[in-house]
């Protein structure tokens, strides 16, 4: 059974339909990449999966390991193992990065009936995990993302993922704005977290990332639908030929229906 099943998902903001029937199955331990032009709904899909209430789901369902996800509050989804690395992580002045993360981890542990980690044990664990993305201790002591550069914010997202150990990680353009060294570091961190129990959905505009994080499947989104799915070679083809190759010159979905295009 797939870890994540998205079935005919429709979502909107106000009276604007953004997701228009998404179908997606991600097996346990698989990495899927989602590509697609600006505004095609990739971040919206990620937000809906994480539980952002600005979006109204009008049709469809989402199952995590067979359990319906959409009725859960964001914090309950996190405790079920959903993690979203944000495209634009927010700065939260006044909330210390470590305090925040320990509060989050302990909240999840409470739900799972596990004992909370005390400050010392947590600190030791966090230091260990921070090595994965080479996040300096100084960043951990600052307020959440406050004054972090774009690359530092992205590293902080992966650091949080390493600490929270989700079952399903959705990485929304974690590679955008990274220089090549930072990209290698972040990708190395992500690869270090790949495991048979952990699935990932990696949203990106660049084939470059997929050289480092090699996906099992690649999907192309346009106009709120997945219009094409394939293996790794689909990303290479896209890189070479552009979206125009899929009949997407103007960024809108071609007539192809998502269901027909999937392999």
């Amino acid at each position: 059974m797939a870890l994540l099943s998205v079935r005919n998902l429709h979502a909107r903001v106000g009276d604007k339909d953004i997701l228009k029937g998404i179908d997606l199955e991600v097996g346990a331990g698989e990495v899927h990449a989602i590509m697609g032009p600006n505004g095609s709904g990739k971040s919206t899909l990620a937000s809906v999966l994480a539980g952002r209430d600005a979006y109204e789901v009008t049709q469809g369902e989402v199952l995590l390991d067979g359990k319906p996800l959409l009725e859960l509050a964001p914090e309950a989804r996190a405790a079920e193992g959903v993690f979203l690395a944000f495209q634009y992580p927010v700065e939260i002045p006044g909330v210390g990065n470590l305090h925040f993360l320990r509060t989050a981890l302990n909240a999840q542990r409470r739900v799972k009936g596990l004992e909370e980690l005390d400050a010392m044990d947590f600190l030791q664990m966090a230091k260990e995990k921070s090595k994965l993305v080479q996040l300096d201790a100084a960043f951990m002591n600052r307020s959440v993302n406050e004054g972090f550069s774009g690359g530092e914010k992205k590293r902080n997202e992966i650091f949080q993922m390493a600490v929270l150990e989700p079952r399903l990680a959705i990485l929304d353009e974690t590679d955008s704005g990274l220089d090549i060294d930072a990209l290698r570091t972040v990708a190395g961190g992500v690869n270090g977290l790949r495991s048979p129990q952990r699935s990932m959905v990696v949203i990106t505009h660049y084939q470059r990332l997929l050289d480092y994080i090699v996906p099992d499947k690649v999907h192309v989104m346009a106009g709120g639908r997945i219009i094409r799915s394939g293996g790794r070679e689909l990303a290479l083809e896209l890189e070479e030929k552009g979206y125009g190759w899929l009949g997407l010159q103007d960024g809108k979905a071609a007539a192809t229906k998502g269901g027909e295009a999937r392999r």
Partner: protein, 442 residues
């Protein structure tokens, strides 16, 4: 006179009649106070300076001064919880409690005296200094305080005296009776002296305490003197509090005020600073945190009367339930006050649909070569930040508490680390439980 005013006039007249041995100058101060109060009456919302604040809890309350502090031994546990290490005077229901006070460890060059002793022993000084900064002729509550003048404290700093330890004045109300406390505090800081003064106002009965405290503090800073002043107002949610802090700053003097207003069904905290010498520097920090039906009213007035002075002001309010917070900050830059540098900020966080904040920055600038900035905000918790925290597994209520404390902590962190900060955190914790108990650092 309205019935409320008549009642206070009667109370003050009886108080003044009871003591025939009073020195003539003090009798005069009290009498004039009474006359001014009778003439001014209680302010109403028609008064510009009281626009947002309905004083009916004061007008309708049957508050009377306590004759003595009574037996205070049973309060020692409360004092132990609220006391800072260092010299302190403790007052119970507005009256000095010698047994709870201790001036041991007072640094050299500092003189700390109960007002009732100073009124007898230092008549000449007090006659010259009392009522110079706080004007009974213009302010009804200062006048009422003068009419009932008896208890409080006098802190004097000899020129060049330096004190590391804070001096604390702890005002406790038992909270079980409608007591009127009228403390007067006088601070005279000689040239180049430096000290920290903490005024703590609390109810011994905790959150349910009642009573009316009408406090007046007058501060005169000599040239190059420096005072850090803390007001920790954390009386019970049924208490009424009016506090006025009036400061005159000499040349190159530095004044920092930390004003924490957490308690009271009605609390007014007023700070006024006048720069009398060039090069003065004033920082006014304020945090007001209200819930239930609390009404917390902050008023500040900065008078840049001379050139080259700097003022920095940051007040933040956190308002929940049906609480209402108001901020009115006046910055006056007089014609001669060239090269004034002044910044004022007021930010309010509303946590419920029914909470309310009124903010009113007011600049009156008559000089032309000045830097003045001000800003005022009333807002709610940031939805994106809230979602970010929840998406990591933090339950909504806990995330809201974290963000609320994050908003307020700037003013807690402005207090240098040490016993005063710990005291602020202790008083704030029951009202803003989002504070990290053990902050870990890598």
């Amino acid at each position: 006179m309205t019935p409320g005013v008549t009642r206070y006039v009667d109370v003050a007249s009886r108080f003044q009649a009871r003591d025939a041995t009073t020195p003539a100058w003090l009798q005069r101060v009290r009498q004039e106070g009474l006359e001014h109060f009778a003439r001014l009456g209680l302010p109403t919302t028609r008064d510009e300076a009281w626009k947002y604040t309905n004083l009916s809890p004061i007008a309708d309350g049957a508050f009377v001064p306590s004759a003595t502090a009574g037996s205070t031994a049973e309060l020692s546990a409360v004092v132990a919880r609220l006391a800072l290490p260092g010299p302190r005077l403790v007052f119970v229901d507005g009256r000095l409690s010698p047994e709870l006070s201790s001036v041991a460890g007072l640094p050299r060059g500092l003189t700390l005296k109960p007002l009732r002793d100073a009124l007898v022993e230092d008549g000449a000084l007090l006659e010259a200094e009392l009522g110079q900064r706080a004007l009974a002729a213009e302010q009804a509550f200062t006048a009422l305080n003068a009419a009932l003048l008896e208890d409080g404290a006098v802190l004097r700093l000899a020129p060049g005296a330096l004190s590391e330890v804070p001096v604390q004045l702890l005002f406790l109300t038992r909270g079980d009776a409608p007591v009127l406390a009228s403390p007067r505090i006088l601070v005279v800081a000689g040239e180049g002296s430096e000290a920290t003064l903490v005024e703590t106002y609390a109810s011994a009965t905790g959150v349910s305490g009642q009573g009316f405290t009408n406090a007046v503090t007058e501060v005169t800073l000599g040239d190059n003197a420096s005072l850090k002043h803390y007001r920790l107002q954390s009386e019970g949610d049924a208490a009424v509090h009016v506090g006025g802090l009036h400061v005159l700053q000499g040349r190159d003097s530095r004044f920092v005020s930390h004003n924490f207003a957490f308690g009271g069904v009605l609390a007014r905290n007023e700070v006024s600073v006048t720069f009398a010498g060039e090069g003065g520097d004033a920082t006014l920090n304020g945090l007001y945190v209200g819930r239930g039906t609390q009404h917390l009213d902050q008023r500040t007035a900065l008078d840049h009367a001379v050139p080259r002075c700097t003022s920095r002001e940051l007040y933040k309010g956190v308002l929940d339930d049906r609480a209402r917070g108001t901020f009115h900050g006046l910055v006056k830059v007089r014609q001669d006050a060239q090269r004034t540098d002044s910044r004022q900020q007021n930010r309010n966080l509303l946590l419920s649909e029914h909470a309310q904040a009124d903010t009113r920055p007011q600049l009156e600038i008559l000089a032309d070569d000045v830097k003045c900035a001000h800003g005022a905000v009333v807002g709610r918790l940031d939805a994106q930040a809230l979602f970010y925290l929840r998406s990591r597994g933090i339950p909504r209520a806990e995330a809201e508490r974290l963000l609320t404390y994050a908003f307020a902590r700037e003013l807690v962190d402005a207090v240098p680390e040490g016993p005063v900060r710990a005291s602020v955190e202790g008083l704030l914790a029951p009202k803003l439980p989002g504070a990290p108990r053990t902050e870990v650092t890598a």
